[in-house]
Assembly symmetry: D3
């Protein structure tokens, strides 16, 4: 059993604002992340797949993972506003915690369709918002 | 003569869109950077000051530069939308080229007030939009 | 359950020297790290907090963690000599292993006072001494 | 219990090609990694040793680990062709998954001879092929 | 006038060997870089274009530069052996100095065809062989 | 003409304190860098050599530069206290500006003895004190 981690990048904007709370409370809770017109980040996404080494000497053909991340993450989030462009965040606050859960859920659902009979598994994702904060989610805990 | 470079970070969003051009032409010119609701980056700013080494063994007290960048750059741009929050970009397209010129102009004007009789000079700034593209501006060329 | 990791920096000096051992044995065991007047590093500290995502979309308000690390780590260690300025190392050799244990102990004790009824937990810390060596400590193992 | 991780570097070339398969199938499976004359990478190897902190304030004398990695990894792989110079890959495809297993096996066997009565253990290795893909192997799973 | 720098990556293998010299002299001059079956690197290429900011707020449409580098550098060098796959090195030793000159020459020639009437210029390239050595070439000095 | 840059690392401690000034003034000028028992850094030194590409395809045999830096910089500064162990700083404040001048002077003097008839030149050095501040010195300005 070995883990393969591949790294991807996308740039997006977001504003942390909980619609059910008052303007004042939002400012207090989220501070500068609540500024009305939003801000943005260069996100780094790392996806870790674990499994046995197959006959080709690899855990998984990396093109399959790249393809999935391109379609499910990059196409939908890159150069987008998380609040305005991504349906999952029409109600949900686009914190990086929530973003990690959304990404993990989409990747995992598609992955299981690609490998219906078992095989390599997406074990965790790690999402970096800036060089100083990152978020890690084990998929067995979803 | 020696050059001191200090590094700063801010996160902002922007949309590349030239108001004088048609929607279609904007999409063609700016591609995904023209997406209507914008996107964002973790910008890295490096400011280089050159000068002689003074009696204290330094070119400049670093707190003076940090203070200036905090007031003129971080306070105005960090966690902001360049298009909506920064007056300079009410008409001007907020490309990183233009952002570099705006930042350099503000820093240089204030610096010259701080050192009216000469002394260390801001020689260049370098602005990184992502790990894969950056912009450098020599201030003597402003 | 998700893990949030935040990164902090401090610069300190240390000398590896066990007072109970002879000069010669100290030189043999610690090599160049035993040089009499010490040396120093830019340490990087990563603190990982794990927990459930709360109603605000976050595991913890990052300002609470930043505040704690500022008070318990940065104020006490940054721009200091570990041997001469930090009481814990008056007897204890300031290896980075021991430094990790000291930092983890202080952070964990304060954290538990901040969240007396449970909630997010500090799960691990990682301390980088140079780009080529680092130390990781799970707090459940303290 | 604490984990110490040390980082090493080597540069090598390889070609992904399974001799038991046809030329065509090799090209299909490995894509550009199958180009006939090979290509290469700057590999980064991280070795993680876990154990209790000893009387000298350390888990292990770092010189012992450095020495082992120098002899078992750097001397044998650095500035070499994995396919042509490394006996383990005379038959085995030199994917980074297989390379990680080979390195882990050699390090672990020697380590156990160095510490026959127990003590610190090599717990995992992580091998980076490029900045965008890496491989991690826990030694308890060998 | 402002400079835009864009970063690209490719992986290749090479062997330093001057055919006009004896085996022994080659080993003496190039050391481990002369090992018979070659080794490889993850090269990083930075291309710097300088010019005035145009009406679109940019020095150059980045897609034009990306396209050129893809066609002239990545397609020809990535996942290749410099010695065996790249005609320029059939006689010439593929040191990174020589590689920089070859890349700069090709980029510059094509660029001048793309901008026959003047405009932005490729001013320098920087080529990183490992994290610890890099090579910079100003194109005005070609 | 091409420039080759090689990167080296050393760890040292220092205290910024000008003996000719009062305690109070030292504290005011140098702030936390004046703490009585010092602190330390992981310094990064980059040395840039420029010249023509020779018959061996290189500007300089890199072993010659590595050897010089090992002898003149690493052996004298690594794991040392700049104030207590380095004669040049018995009177001089060990700011990184002054450290750059000291290093550049020593390297340049030895280099000129190694290449008495001209040839490749050390053109600049760059010294990084932390990831956020660095110092660059052109040797023609010494």
């Amino acid at each position: 059993m070995i883990q393969v981690t591949r790294r991807y990048r996308f740039s997006a904007s977001h504003r942390l604002h909980a619609p059910q709370l008052s303007e004042e409370l939002n400012r207090e809770i989220y501070g500068k992340c609540n500024h009305p017109f939003g801000h943005g980040h260069n996100y780094i996404l790392e996806v870790t797949v674990g499994g046995a080494i197959g006959g080709d000497g690899r855990v998984v053909d990396p093109r399959r993972l790249d393809c999935l991340v391109e379609q499910e993450v990059i196409q939908r989030l890159d150069h987008r506003s998380l609040n305005a462009d991504v349906p999952e965040f029409s109600e949900l606050v686009p914190t990086t915690e929530n973003l990690a859960v959304v990404i993990a859920g989409r990747l995992d659902a598609c992955w299981k369709q690609m490998f219906p009979g078992g095989g390599p598994r997406i074990e965790k994702i790690r999402l970096e918002e800036t060089g100083n904060n990152s978020f890690e989610l084990k998929l067995s805990k979803l």
